[in-house]
Point group: C2
Chain length 300, copies 2
């Protein structure tokens, strides 16, 4: 480690869009870069902005428990994938994040924190890594932590991503639905990704594969939402409140589905507010995760 | 064709960022979806906005010469890849495009027109195609028209793209440099892509492969620009004016390189203006090509 590497002015910032999965199939693999999910969803302009400061190189393979600390909206939270990302990058850092999205309710906040941290560190110091390398690192951190299977690759892509083959860049394969839209969401609470994925996922995977086939045949947002509803029912993941909300949106002529995995409903356009819900609105996000440029980076 | 399909209110809009290739190697293949280039460059926030109106279905495989017409910044231009894209989509359309970038000078305007047209048609009518399908169609149109080999896939990705393997989605493979920056550019005129690529490309390809290896080892913008300068010299493509401009930027402490293929110089930050040139400024573009949402698509 040189004196320069230990300087405490090494900071960086990145944004990762939120991501709601409408349907998925789980694909286990002994190599976590090949494990993941197939499925479809929407990325959201509401996302996670991660700032890293006081970045110090410690050498690769540092014990994950010893690196970094995360403040999300001013509150200390433990996010295992973030610690893993820092350890794999061989740095310690002060990690601060801001997000309007609640953690643990199906918006890909843990994935966004992992990916945003990887990109923010690359903004702060030369890592020698490409974007695919950083995405792979964040994906592996999520898979190993059992906090998610497909958010990271979707959040790295942006738009309305279809995970055609599971896994990190070099293994997985992505496509997208050519669409942009206003999205509304409402949350009723958490659903443990780990608990669902550690159960029997055979029926879920069959339903997820069927949903993906259907959407690839007719790649539009209404098809995505309809396929999501069928999937949620077949995979038996819908709580009564979520079911009632989705039905209310349908009754008002809208399109809604459940976020995998959270007690969360997302709707196209003004579907939730038209059905009388107090929903938050955002847009599908056109870009994947990106560095947030410093003030000087302006064309003026 | 149904009455609905023939309605003349079918319009759509899309944006494709500009793209400047810093170095490349050409890879021919009898299947144009597998042909393409490996290389690296930057996408630009200055790009091409394509509007299609009066979109009418004619059935797939329509003669390319019979479809569409392109008005670029109010002037009629013949852009063969656009006609091919419309023919492959089985539609005719009025195509209008706006761009601050000059055609034929290394900014990927023809690729942006092809890709923007494909996305805009998908915005106007249901094509049954995914984003990868649309990118493949635009890439093939460029390759067959001999107007470009790698712009379309780079413009579909955005950021600072590395074309790791040549070809359209499903064949090619992309990565990226984790960076965002201000970019300046100045143009001295055209260079025919077709003339360069129809010559002996063996030395060019060797130089391009070496440049890509170098940048993948150290994926940063300064490395990309330095590799571009070495490539341009080794491939013997630099005109005296371009060489003089790049040297002037280097002498002023900046980083510049030549756009492949045009008599165009791009620089990092304020490299050109600091060297006394009257340059245009923009930013690297964080997103790939996207639909441009209509006014209603706002979260408010």
């Amino acid at each position: 480690m040189t004196c320069e590497d230990a300087a405490d002015d090494r900071s960086g910032r990145a944004f990762a869009p939120g991501h709601v999965t409408a349907f998925f199939s789980a694909h286990d693999h002994e190599n976590p870069a090949r494990a993941g999910s197939r499925g479809g969803g929407v990325t959201l302009s509401d996302g996670v902005t991660v700032t890293v400061s006081d970045v110090r190189r410690t050498g690769a393979g540092t014990d994950a428990s010893a690196t970094g600390s995360v403040a999300l909206n001013g509150e200390r939270v433990g996010v295992e994938p973030v610690a893993r990302v820092l350890a794999d990058l061989g740095v310690t850092a002060e990690v601060t994040a801001e997000s309007p999205l609640p953690l643990g309710t199906g918006f890909g906040v843990s994935g966004g924190l992992a990916l945003g941290t990887a990109y923010a560190v690359a903004d702060a110091v030369e890592t020698g890594l490409t974007e695919n390398d950083l995405v792979r690192l964040a994906h592996v951190a999520e898979v190993v932590s059992e906090t998610g299977l497909g958010d990271v690759v979707a959040q790295a892509r942006g738009g309305v991503p279809l995970r055609v083959e599971p896994g990190a860049p070099g293994h997985g394969r992505l496509d997208g639905i050519p669409a942009r839209a206003r999205i509304e969401y409402v949350t009723f609470g958490e659903l443990s990704t780990e608990a669902v994925l550690s159960g029997d996922t055979e029926q879920l995977t069959r339903a997820g594969e069927a949903a993906l086939d259907r959407v690839r045949e007719a790649p539009t947002l209404p098809t995505l939402f309809a396929a999501g509803r069928t999937f949620a029912r077949e995979a038996d993941l819908v709580s009564p409140t979520v079911a009632e909300t989705i039905e209310a949106v349908s009754a008002a002529g809208g399109e809604a589905t459940m976020a995998m995995l959270g007690r969360t409903v997302v709707a196209l356009g003004d579907g939730l507010s038209a059905a009388g819900y107090d929903a938050t609105a955002c847009l599908t996000h056109p870009a994947g995760a990106t560095l947030v440029p410093s003030e000087e980076a302006s064309p003026e």
